[in-house]
Amino acid sequence: MSIVDPVATLLAKLNTSSSTIAAAYYQGRVHKTDENARDIERLRQLRLLSPDIRDAYQLRASFRHFLNAALNTERLFSMGANIGGYFQRLANLVDEHSIAFQEGRDVDCERYEVETREAISDIADAIDDELIILQAQVATRFAAVSTIAEKKRQNLHYQERTQQLVNLLESFHFSDIGDQLAGHEELALSFKSLLSERIPAFRESLWSILDLLNQYLFEFRKIEERAKKVRAFALHLNRNPDWEPKAWDEVTTPEDWLQCATQIQIQSHPDVAAPELEELLAEIARTIPSSAGEKNKTARPAGHIEEESGNEEITPPESPIRKAVRFYFKVAIKSDKGISARDWWASNPVILGGVKEEIWLLRVLAEHDNKGKTGKWALRLASTSHPDFDGNVLINDVIVSRKPT
């Protein structure tokens, strides 16, 4: 299996689009043509190009910064690492452009125009990138760090970062910049379509991220609280090996978690009389082997007497219900008050396995019928007369106790 190196793959892709990248870098933007359409799509997919105005594309801020650094290109008002710096740079560029324009310095004016356009796109890209980073962090719930304490710190950090960005977007005077650029069609259009019109959407996204971060902080606190409880409970169990919960099953209204309804075993059978099932049933029938397989029967040769018996006596294991009956009577004959068979059934599900309650009661009664005369127990019935059939009783429970001496 070949090992794919993502860096090598990316650089190979960039190499195939090198002329388009160079054009976009030196000219500030590149227009889509039949020749470069594939390059542009590829570079957009790699998030290295972003749309400019009038069907043009420009290098994304991060890629341009990389090329600037690699080619040691000097920038005007070199910016800081934060978006606030980008905003400040834009304001400075607009001011300087305005002065150069008023003083009639055309060459400088042109240079400031290029830089201002880039600064506008830098801000839009930076906010876009910031949103992507924040959304990724929020979506994975800070999966890169494992402990809740770290997650909480990460959460607080991003909360602060998002809040700062929101404040920045709310406090920056976009209208001033818009007014200053009003006389320059190209720049005004860039500013409007790339930045000022997108600000409400940016703000909305940031607010929803902030809401999520607040919610996560609450959840992290809850998770931390639960972990503390689990540890405290584990410690309590370790320190008190004989601890058992109180009889919460005997309170008048048991808690919701105690009221789980009885499991119902659901079995369904095909309707063999239904004609639409005939084909399916026939198919199943065809998969069943026609004979149960050959039996190897070894017959005793005539005139030969076998001295060894071929049959080995196998003692079957004690059935779970038999075992349960034995345990129940063993405990019950030690009790003077007696033990209810139904209560014993309810509190010993492990011993009884899946034996149903009514079967269990019948089995206890059968044991008494068979061995009651010689046994050391007394059996009492909790019963009521049948409302319709005279002479019959409805047995609700059976109580077995020590036989009085």
């Binding site: 639960r226 405290a232 105690l258 009221q259 659901i266």
Partner: protein, 211 residues
């Protein structure tokens, strides 16, 4: 989807994202809840959910004398599982060096667990303690693997873990864990079980106040 959800609930199963994702997502809508509740109501049952909405299960509409036996059976089951389950959760937390307890949907890698209990004597001792917690954990093979297999199998049988990848032996915690945390919370609140660390903090404050 209705028949699948109704059957699961009647069979006493917990419906959660880990065990039956489609059914769980379907049941999240108000219409589905209403449909299921109406059906269950006709047979003396209702739809309940765990506190953090991570699992749905069926409960009685009212607890009369005949339901009381079932309540006792449920409580007996909780008493039987409470120690081993908390022991297992703390073991997982120690192995993963996490300060959070597992929740529904969290993955559990068998290989990582086995490596930890094999290489760390303390964790092996924690695993060995399962042997004192009932016959469900009795093993003939006393190796770390033998014991861990038994524990994992039991947790799966009780419905707290589900195997998601047989080849990689990956498991996922189920929504039933949320139900279990609810039980712990109730018992702590109502049986006066306190967090010793907060108690120690309180004692410290009290001492400082007296000084």
């Amino acid at each position: 989807m209705f028949d699948q959800v109704a059957t699961h609930l009647l069979e006493g199963k917990f419906i959660c994202e880990s065990t039956t994702p489609e059914a769980f997502r379907w049941l999240k809508s108000d219409e589905a809840k209403q449909e299921i509740s109406t059906y269950l109501g006709k047979i003396g049952r209702r739809l309940s959910k765990s506190p953090n909405d991570q699992a749905y299960y069926a409960t009685w509409t009212r607890v009369g004398s005949s339901e009381r036996t079932e309540v006792k059976r449920v409580f007996a089951g909780i008493k039987q599982t409470i120690r081993p389950l908390i022991h297992f959760i703390t073991l997982c937390m120690e192995v993963e060096k996490k300060d959070s307890s597992p929740v529904s949907g969290d993955r559990l890698e068998y290989a990582m667990l086995l490596k930890a209990v094999t290489e760390n004597a303390h964790l092996f001792e924690v695993l060995r303690e399962f042997g004192t917690m009932g016959k469900e954990f009795t093993v003939t093979d006393a190796s770390a693997k033998g014991m861990l297999d038994k524990v994992i199998k039991q947790m799966e049988q009780w419905g707290y873990l589900i195997l998601i990848n047989r080849e990689q032996e990956s498991y996922r915690f189920t929504g039933k864990l949320d139900y279990y945390y609810q039980v712990i919370e109730f018992l702590m609140e109502n049986e006066g079980i306190t967090d010793p660390s907060s108690q120690e903090q309180e004692d410290g404050t009290e001492q400082r106040r007296l000084i």
